[in-house]
């Protein structure tokens, strides 16, 4: 059986993907893939997601240059979530210019930004 057929896709044909920086283990992003984007990810060796908001393939870094080189691809016990071990080019995964999209932490009942902006978005998306 094809490895793509072993995945339990959502009714919309998607699977959630957690991107984790190799080495540090920092979880940097959460996104979705469809069958085509996952196949392209394996083929290219760089993360290709499915943008639900734009309804099209999204080659991560296509605008920012912050591509994600794939180190390994892991599947969970229910075959419905993927964990992507990546090498984040530029060290920035988030569109806000931070290393990780998970830059806010719940402290004293408030979401507080605890990660610095490494590069201003205006510098990233020219």
């Amino acid at each position: 059986m094809n490895w793509l057929d072993e995945i339990r896709w959502t009714p919309e044909g998607l699977i959630p993907v957690v991107a984790q920086q190799t080495g540090s283990g920092r979880v940097v992003m959460f996104a979705w893939m469809n069958r085509e984007s996952l196949a392209l990810t394996v083929q290219d060796g760089y993360a290709v997601y499915w943008s639900r908001s734009r309804n099209r393939l999204w080659r991560k870094g296509e605008e920012s240059g912050h591509r994600q080189k794939v180190i390994s691809i892991q599947l969970d016990c229910d075959e419905d979530v993927i964990l992507l071990e990546i090498e984040q080019e530029g060290g920035i995964a988030c569109h806000t210019g931070r290393e990780s999209c998970f830059y806010r932490q719940l402290i004293d009942g408030q979401w507080q930004a605890v990660e610095p902006v490494l590069k201003h978005p205006d510098e990233i998306y020219k």
Copy 2:
């Protein structure tokens, strides 16, 4: 504004949650929470999820004893994914008896189990 109101819940009132082991950074699980379960997670200091299959609150470890002590709670840039830093009791998050649910890796076009079973499920769920 209440911190729970800042979250962008799905139409079903849920948010995806990535659970990550503190220290090692191993991503051990992916699950969902609703408003009540997230509030209980903060209140109790242990992860409480919303089981979509059983349609009820799921206090992680209620059967297995493998509770997840909450270290920190992080929110992503779109306010629609949570990253939970946890201390996994028993060192086993997966119902298969492994440390992590992400125990399969894509190798040579096949999903191959690369993590050992630490405890047989029959021993966990008596």
